[in-house]
Symmetry: C2
Subunit: 275 residues, 2 copies
Amino acid sequence: MDKKMDILFTADSNYVKYISVVLKSLAVNDSNYNCCVHLIHDDLNAEQEENFRKMCSNYGYTGHTYRINDQLLQQAPVNKHYSSAMYYRLLAVEILPETLKKVIYLDPDLLIINPLHPLWEMPMEEYAFLAASHTEDHEVIDNLNRVRLNTDTPYYNTGVLVMDLEKARNLIQKQDIYAYIEKNENIMFLPDQDIFNALYGNVTKAIPDEIWNYDARKYPQYYVSSKGLFDEKWIIQNTAILHFCGKHKPWNSEQHSWFHYIYWHYMQLTERNEP
Amino acid sequence: MDKKMDILFTADSNYVKYISVVLKSLAVNDSNYNCCVHLIHDDLNAEQEENFRKMCSNYGYTGHTYRINDQLLQQAPVNKHYSSAMYYRLLAVEILPETLKKVIYLDPDLLIINPLHPLWEMPMEEYAFLAASHTEDHEVIDNLNRVRLNTDTPYYNTGVLVMDLEKARNLIQKQDIYAYIEKNENIMFLPDQDIFNALYGNVTKAIPDEIWNYDARKYPQYYVSSKGLFDEKWIIQNTAILHFCGKHKPWNSEQHSWFHYIYWHYMQLTERNEP
């Protein structure tokens, strides 16, 4: 395991158990890579932080935790619709050590089913970010988002985000973000994702969502739009990241698909492997 | 990995790739156990034997191959309906080294999805074998089999078989097997399984098939007979061995279930991990 990836999560203590499933699936599917796992949070106590690091080392990984202190977000607009946690993903550029040059941010509600490292090794070119869009170029919703946010780029899902930290450190300014929120509060549906798209969509390179951020709710749409190419076998052989977007998570939904059964299998592997 | 299991396969060279999937699934699901993997065969050449051992060591396992020589089965009845390969499972008692005291025989068309070691550690009591039946006690087919084979025990599926080799060495005599075949040739449907049931059913302890030998064709039957208990989540949390019995294998069928998708995922993991 001489190769290394840096992975970032931002989550509260309730989500650590799902991060564990992501890491187990990463360990099984990319067994030749070592990982440094960075967790930005605001509510884990010292024991929970220690447990997180133990859990990481259980997979052969190194865990680092970063507790947000109140000062960092002193001037941030926060209201009942969005908490300060929404800033962590973007402000990772300030929080993570300066020696870190690149990181893959992952939402906790996803599952790795093929190697992640080709994403890690993908050239960034002149871009600061790599991300996938869940809407096709000509879809109405994408155009609505472009009008709404005044962008001419696809509307990116920020659940999987490769960040070139060196470029992003120069780009991301807290004041820009705060100013954007104050001005656009009323038009934001998904605040953190909207901010990312509005402010940084133009320095983001699109990567294919069917590989790197497959929306597990949308099997029929993928199947039809690919003219039947993206069937179960294709997904199992090609998709690296299944993303359980939306309200119906594998761990709380009443309606389940085979994607959920695979998730449950990894949940079971994870629970058995916990120390 | 201080604990060890001995696993036995008997297969021809075409099936080695499926054994590899079984071993990958075993390695992922029972990662604290080391395994010695014994393969009894009659058609692998020296290079294929070496590849088999390499594949095993790829999972941290030790591979041993045993080529059957013609003399062992010189007097065995063989005809167009059954080949000499059908004897290997039972004659493992003669072929495997005498130092070996116990082995778990596994068919190559199955998948491990929970730890196997509780089966390895299950007390044998006075029995020589542990096996599961795919037919419930009062099913017509089980009674037919009992009449057909003149037994009063369940009809065992021999796809998963724990063998107490010390007891079995005293019990299994080639001449008994040959004599049984010559006498009963016309009533045998599945020769090796029929022989096992007729001659050794009474020294076999029944283990639950829903855990140790789940027939992946029969989801509705399991679900109904368990009054809804054996649903997808129960299977994922409890079943250790999925057995893809019958003609429609995950690798050749046109009709697929979610069991097949999980198999495909392990097939994909296996192919990626091959040296």
